[in-house]
Amino acid sequence: MLQIDCPWCGSRDQDEFQCGGEAHIVRPATPEDLSDAQWADYLFNRANTKGAHAEQWCHSGGCRRWFNIVRDTVSYKISSVYQAGASPPQEKP
């Protein structure tokens, strides 16, 4: 039962949120230029990381804003929250 810090509303129960999966997958600018395999990679392949995973969430039961978090997919601990469009914070050394 995650408790997620919405960058706007603060800490809320996971049931107010919706996960949008892996973050930072950019839609190709000109899909027509892609091979079928490249398109399939964009469409279906996912890092599915065991460990620190950058993912998109939407505060759908609250402010309806999308944002990103880095969450450990084993411990479920959330190490950072940042706004949509921002790049993931650097790993601490």
Binding site: M1, D36, A40, D41, F44, A47, N48, K50
Partner: protein
């Protein structure tokens, strides 16, 4: 490697010697430096693959590498529903092959896997559910798979505990029913395959985690493990929730995400439910184990997770769904809940395929519904590995389908995918 054969007679014989003389069901050998085939993952599918490789394809030296204890993955934590009434031809034929293997599995393995053909019911709660049920049942019949459509009255007669009242929030309008479907004793499936594979000389190596895959010139050459390097020219990965992790080791990107899927059991009860009941719309499924617990499950958490646990709110929704369908279970108590890591493909169908790397094979993506496929999956995968070519039954379940678009989408019409 002759084992004790299991039977009532051997049981009686051993009783005389106070059960001192039972041999180990499977050995616990140290890994050899190399094998012909390494199977990564000691779940039901991996063990079945090893068994059929040895028993049917006479592959000589096989090892199953399991990072924990065999059957400790999804095989040991699923709700054990077995059925073959899938919508699309490709899946229907594959699962039906599996169901046929189930029907003789205890004898084949000489291990009672308690396959109980008590029937599986998929409820329909909306007009669209009923259309889908007709479509799927009709297709099943034409594919040679048994299927019936039940009216609410027929459902009530089979499952008196169910509320089929018209006043329910989502009334039961009917159901599809596969009488040959049912449940099995999940642990026994892993153990039975392990014992039978061991009998054919397969080395089952537990506490052996694969941490790297070696390749040379586009072909696989072995694996790195916490118990040293083990060589093989064929590596068959059957790692379920960890498929992406292994794919990553080989440099493959996979169309897989791993989600927490939970299940729970009630305290044991005297028999009260004689068949398996699944509902997509009310979202839950339930059967009663031979020990008497209600075994209950629902859907995955909405985010990936490797923690073998999920969120409580899923459990709440799941239990509410069961009480909604079975109001008399309200005073029954939940004993235990747990989770597994299910590997989900975009089209809710598995991958049983060669890869771009020679000698590397993947069997994964079974998601929330691969227990029923255990023998069939092992059978076709063994064929694929032995012949370096898929069997007709798994040809469609290749990786290329994500490129060509020839998905086999079982989301829409197959009901809850268990």
């Amino acid at each position: 490697m002759k084992r004790n054969r299991y039977s009532i007679f051997s049981l009686a014989r051993n009783a005389v010697s106070y059960h001192r003389d039972w041999r180990a069901a499977w050995r616990s050998p140290d890994p050899a430096p190399s094998y012909d085939v390494i199977v990564v993952g000691g779940g039901g599918h991996g063990l079945a693959t090893a068994y059929y490789l040895a028993a049917e394809h006479k592959v000589g030296r096989i090892a199953v590498l399991e990072k924990g204890w065999i059957g400790g993955g999804n095989t040991g934590r699923n709700t054990t529903i077995v059925r073959s009434n899938y919508l699309w031809d490709e899946s229907a034929h594959l699962y039906e092959k599996s169901l046929q293997l189930w029907e003789g599995l205890s004898q084949e393995l000489n291990f009672n896997v308690m396959f109980s053909q008590r029937g599986v019911m998929n409820l329909g709660h909306s007009l669209q559910d009923m259309r889908d049920i007709y479509r799927r049942s009709n297709a099943n019949r034409l594919n040679g798979i048994d299927s019936e459509i039940l009216s609410p009255a027929e459902i009530k007669a089979m499952v008196p505990a169910m509320n089929v009242s018209e006043n329910a929030r989502y009334p039961v309008l009917g159901a599809s029913f596969q009488a040959r479907g049912g449940v099995a004793r999940h642990d026994a499936v892993a153990w039975g395959f392990a014992r039978a594979a061991d009998e054919h000389g397969v080395d089952i190596i537990q506490n052996c985690e694969v941490s790297g895959i070696f390749k040379e010139n586009g072909a696989v050459t072995g694996v790195e493990t916490n118990r040293g390097v083990i060589r093989a020219s064929k590596v068959a990965v059957v790692a379920a929730g960890h498929s992406s992790v292994l794919g990553d080791m080989a440099g493959l990107r996979m169309p897989i995400e791993s989600y927490p899927l939970q299940a729970l059991v009630s305290e044991p009860l005297k028999p009260v439910l004689d068949t398996v009941v699944m509902s997509n719309a009310v979202h839950g499924y339930v059967s009663q184990s031979d020990k008497g617990e209600l075994v209950i499950g629902a859907g995955v958490d909405g985010y990936i997770g490797y923690g073998q646990r999920g969120s409580f709110s899923i459990i709440e929704g799941n239990v509410a769904a069961i009480v909604e369908l079975f109001p008399i279970f309200s005073r029954v108590r939940m004993l235990r809940q747990w989770g597994g890591i299910v590997d989900v493909c975009p089209d809710a169908c598995p991958i049983i395929s060669k890869t771009s790397l020679k000698g590397l094979y993947f069997n994964c993506g079974w998601g929330t519904g691969g227990f029923k496929a255990t023998p069939g999956s092992g059978w076709v995968f063994a064929h694929t590995v032995a012949h370096d070519e898929p069997h007709a039954l798994n040809a469609a379940f290749n990786m290329e389908r994500f490129t060509t678009g020839a998905l086999i989408d079982e989301h829409g019409a197959a009901g809850v995918a268990h």
